[in-house]
Amino acid sequence: MLTFTFRRLLLAIPTLVLISLIIFLLLDLAPGDPLADQPLSIPPEVRQKMRDALGLDAPAYVRYLLWAKQFFWVEPLNFVDWAIGTNFSEGLQRIVSWQFRAPVFDIIIQRIPQTLWVVGLAYLVGVMIALPIGIISAYKQYSWFDQIGTFVSMVGFSVPPFFSGVLMIVFFAIMLPWFPSIYDTTLVVNDFESFGQQVRQMTLPVMVLALQTTAQLSRFMRASMLDNLNHDYVRTARAKGMTEKVVLLVHVLRNSMIPVVTVIALGIPSIFGGAIITEQIFKVNGLGQLLITAIYANDLPMVQTLAFIFAVLIVLCNLIADVLYGLLDPRIRYD
C-alpha cells in the first residue's frame, strides 16, 4: 500500500502539470475580457492601454510559463520568507490579480476562514446527519422513517440553493428576525458574545448547504447498505449469534462504505471551491464568491490559481479515497 501511495503521488505531478496547462488553455480560449466590467464611457483607446498594462498582449506560452514560474517558484519562496523571516523572494513578481492588483495568495488566505466556517462546517454537519439517516433508512426499508427521509432528501435536493437560501432569509431573517441575512466577515470571535454572533450568522447558510450534502449522501448510504443487507454473509453472521448492532455497524457498514467514501472524498475539494450561490445569497464572500467574481471579471491569474489549487485537492482526495478502499476491503489490490 505504501509503495502504491508513493508511486501514485509521483505520478500525480505530471498529471497536475498537464491539468494546469489545460486549464490555462481553456481560460485563454474562453471569451471574455478583464475590462468587461468597466463602464462603456471609457473609450476604446484607453481600454487598449489598460489591457497592455496588464500584460495581456504577450503570447499565451509566455503567460503560461510566467504563471508556472510564479506558482511553483516565487510563491513557495514567499511562503518560506513569511514562515522563517528570510527574504529570498525579494524583487520577484508574485502572481498578481488583475482585478485587485494585489497578490492572489493574500486574498485567498483572507477568504479561507469564512469558507471553512461556513462551507466546511456545513459539509461536516451534512455528513454527520446523512450517515445515520442512510443506515436507518436502509435497515428499516419502507418504514415511515425511510419514507420521510426519502421525501425530505429528494425535495431537499430538488430545490436549488438559490431558492432555499432566499426562503430561509424570508422566514428566519425577515418574518422572524432571528438570524442576520448578511454574513459579517470582519467579526472577530474573542469572547462568548461574539461566538454567539458567529453561530447566528452561520446558521442559515450552513442549513442551506447541509441540506444538499445530506440529501445526496444519505441516498448513497442507503442504497449501498441495502445492497449489502441481502448478502449471505449477513445471514451467516446473524446465524452465528452476533448482535444486530455488530452485524450492522461492523460488517454491513464496512462493506457499504466504498461508494460513500468516494462521494465524501469528491465533496471535500468542493469545500475549498466554495459554495458559489449560497455564498452570494448570504454574502459570505468566501472562495466561491472569489472564484465567480474572478471568472466574471476575467481575472485569469486568479481563476487559474484557484482552479489549480482545486485540482491539487481533487487529485489528493481521490488518492486518499483509493487508499481507503484498500483499508475497507483488503482484497482490493492496485499493483
Binding site: 474562453a30 471569451p31 448478502h231 482484497r331
Partner: protein, 306 residues
Amino acid sequence: MTDAPMLEPVKTDTSGRSQWWDVWDQFKTHKGALFGAAVFLFIVLAVTIGPFLWTLEPTFIDIRARNSGPGLAHPFGTDQLGRDILARMMAGGQVSIAVGLTAMLISVLLGTLIGVVAGFFRKLDGVLMGLTDLFLALPLLPLLLVMVMLFRETLARSFGPEMGTFILIVSAIGVTSWMQTARIVRGEVLALKEREFVLAARSIGTPSRRMIMRHVLPNVLSPIMVSATLGIATAIITESALSFLGLGFPPDFPTWGRLLFDAIDYLQQYPERVFWPGLAISLTVLSVNYIGDGLRDALDPRIRGR
C-alpha cells in the same frame, strides 16, 4: 470473513419467458415504484397532451391580466407580464423533462462506461482516473462558454436552432457531470472484481465483455440508480443556469428551472409562483427515485428470487 460466494442463479428455463418478465413481475409488487411510475406518467402526459387541451400560448402577453392570482381564466395565475403560468408550466415541463432525462442518461452512461472500464482493466485505470480528475478540476463556466463558442453555430446549422441548442445543452450538462458516477462505479468494481464469483467466472474463461454485462453491472446498479435520480434534479436546475448565462434556450422559452428562478424576486408577493415549478421539479425527481428503487429491486436477482 463471512462473505459467501454468490453464484449467479443459472437460468435453465427456456420456456420463452424472458428475464424481463421476471423483472416486471417484481416491479409490479413494489408499491412505491408503481406509484412513482403513475405520477411520472401523469406529469409526462400533462406536459405533452396538456397544451392541446389548454391552448393558451405560453409566450402570449396579456398585459392587462398581469400578476393575476389563480382563477378560472388562469388556473395557476399569470406572471409579471400577464403570461399564463399553466401554459408556461406545461411548455416548460416538456423541455425540462427532456433535458433532465437526456442529460442524465448521457452522464450516467458515460460515467458507468468510464468507471467500469477503469475499475476492470487495470492498465486503463491511471489514464481514465487522470481524465476524471481533469474534468473535475476544469472550471465549469469557462468550459461551457468555450463549448458554446465552438459548437453553437455549427450545431444550429446542422440541426436547426432549437434542436441544436437542445443537443448543446444536454451534452454540456452530460459532459460536465459524469465524473462522480465514474468514481463511484470504479470503486465498486474494484471491490467486486476480487469477489469469489467474479474470480470463478474468470477462471472458467468468461470473456471480459460478458463478465461486465453479466456479473459486474448488475451489482453496481444501486449507486448508478441513485446517481441517475440525483442527476435529473441537477440537470433541470443546471439547464436554467445555462439559459440564464445565455448559453441555453432563448429567454422567452419557459423551462421549470427558469420559471423557478424568475419567481424568486416575487417570493413574498406571489408565493404561488415559486410553488408550481418547485413542486413540479420535486415531484418528477421523487417519482423517478421511486421508479429507480423499484427497478433496482426488480433487477436484483437476490430479491427477485424470493
